[in-house]
Symmetry: C2
Subunit: 328 residues, 2 copies
């Protein structure tokens, strides 16, 4: 019932070596706990995210992409609070020792960790069905966190980047598997949107002090906007034609493309509330961040989320999940 001695330990140790240092880290990997020394006046933001083989990724998906996405999805929760990463802990459950898989997984996660400056400060390796649980710890000035609450009627609804690309990538990948097609090149942009989301840490940080309200779009625009409306005790009205659709959806039927952008999920863009009279500040902010920021509607006193077409008529929403894509 105990863990077999895993040769993975060595590889994981190698993977963490030198990656467990950073500001505020008193003691890295190798003891019963990691020790952190928070800066005075800072609050800590903490979150955990699990990805399970077959539920969140394909068993034969490139291991580097799995490593990337497991860390990206967790770090995205820090971005949504306006926190900067202090470190991440990796709980990795593996069916067997597979050095090539582990090396690629570690490379994918390590490359993102290095680029985003997320020290890998702890972990646990166990034997079992493939799953990855990543805990992230971030910090931010006390009182500055972006929450789901705080949006006010009249505030603009703004999203970063474009939406629906991850869903387009997933659909393409599923179709390829059903038809037995060859895997595309490693850097295929269609798959990359699903395989390698980019957490918006710089945007989250920039939003601190400018708004109180943000969320990351992991469940889909409608679902996550719904969370904000619930927490903020308000509703929202969106303009369908203002919702930024991923270029990958360009050749999709209009209805399907809209549905993908509204409900596709896994995009890890940020949605935030923005005071209407500061609308003019969005463009320079987008410019500084080199990231599109698009006003897609506004928060309302009336509860619920509505999406209006070009004529101002409400579009019937079949649901906030995936099912309605099939009927398109």
């Amino acid at each position: 019932m105990a863990d077999a001695p895993l040769s993975e330990f060595d590889l994981i140790a190698r993977f963490f070596t030198g990656r467990d240092r950073g500001p505020g880290i008193v003691l890295g990997v190798g003891d019963d706990c990691t020790l952190l020394s928070p800066r005075r006046g800072q609050e800590l933001a903490v979150s955990v995210d699990t990805m399970v083989c077959g539920t969140h990724f394909f068993p034969d998906q490139p291991a580097a992409a799995i490593g990337h996405k497991a860390l990206a999805a967790a770090v995205s929760d820090l971005a949504a609070m306006g926190a900067e990463p202090l470190g991440a802990l990796l709980a990795l459950t593996l069916p067997k020792a597979d050095e090539a898989w582990l090396a690629a997984f570690a490379q994918g996660m390590g490359a993102l960790a290095d680029r985003l400056r997320v020290p890998l400060i702890g972990g646990d390796t166990t034997r079992g069905p493939l799953a990855i649980s990543v805990t992230v710890i971030g910090h931010l000035p006390a009182g500055a966190a972006l929450r789901r609450s705080g949006a006010e009627p009249g505030n603009l609804v703004v999203v970063s980047g474009s939406l629906g690309g991850a869903f387009a990538g997933l659909q393409a990948e599923q179709q390829r598997r059903e038809t037995g097609g060859e895997p595309p090149e490693a850097e295929d942009p269609l798959r990359e949107r699903f395989f390698r989301p980019e957490p918006r840490i710089a945007l989250g940080k920039a939003l601190r002090g400018r708004t109180r309200t943000a969320i990351d779009i992991s469940d889909g625009l409608l679902a996550d906007l719904g969370h904000v409306c619930d927490a903020s005790d308000c509703g929202a009205t969106l303009q369908a034609d203002s919702i930024p659709r991923d270029p990958l959806l360009a050749e999709w039927p209009a209805g399907s493309a809209l549905a993908a952008a509204l409900s596709g999920g896994d995009d890890y863009e940020l949605l935030f509330a923005w005071p209407a009279r500061q609308r003019g500040e969005l463009r320079p902010l987008a410019s500084a961040l080199q990231l599109p920021l698009t006003v897609i509607g506004e928060f309302t006193r009336e509860p619920g989320v509505r999406v209006l077409d070009e004529a101002g008529q409400p579009i019937a929403l079949a649901g906030q999940g995936f099912d309605h894509f099939r009927a398109d």
Copy 2:
């Protein structure tokens, strides 16, 4: 590829409700991250521990015991550093919605969390093979952490409680299963030592400032003492007859009982270094904590771990794992 909407969410939410508050918790469950406000002058200790069905527990093990042990094993790492719990995050992967199982699991984890005052400050529920990953965050005065390093030749090797009981419980449970015996009563002491270890938080806290070196015995006495010796650049000599054996081993053959105490694992007692000239302070400390503290040997300049019999002769150690139990 996304999570199906789980009815478990409701149950988990109920489980967390009211348990996500405590000193230093600014924002509990329900946003992208939990927010913590560390006290000035405190360091944070962080660790993650995963338990996988079939590897760490039996599929039909009582769910309450699984919930207890998942939290206990993680919190034990805080105890080993001398840290007090600030909170725990639960990443729960479940094959299906089973309300009765979840209620019992939540009850078992929740009862321990309440008793040890560990707020449950976050989590993630996903669909997949049963596994539980618990991240714990603790705090302690800066510089006061107990590490694996720092033991010096001449220091006494001390352990809390008794050893081998968890292994005895595991053996009994395995035998029962092989012979098709009826499950014992819920509170059977033999199983409880394996099912419900007790993290030694009060001891870890009391050791701060009195020693620099501690570890929890999760892998087994020899293995974990080996970790301390490696980190402290020293060795250790133990007296076999001084090692406190769990009363559950009373009727075992002497050799098997010693092997269980030396290598059984899963006891979650603490092992620590203690200055020889403060030996007299151990008894009042044990008395205050109502927990046996036993000197079992001393750290040495000579590397490696040796176990001596009553005649002072070294006992041949077949290994530090489980295999040699079978040849007894």
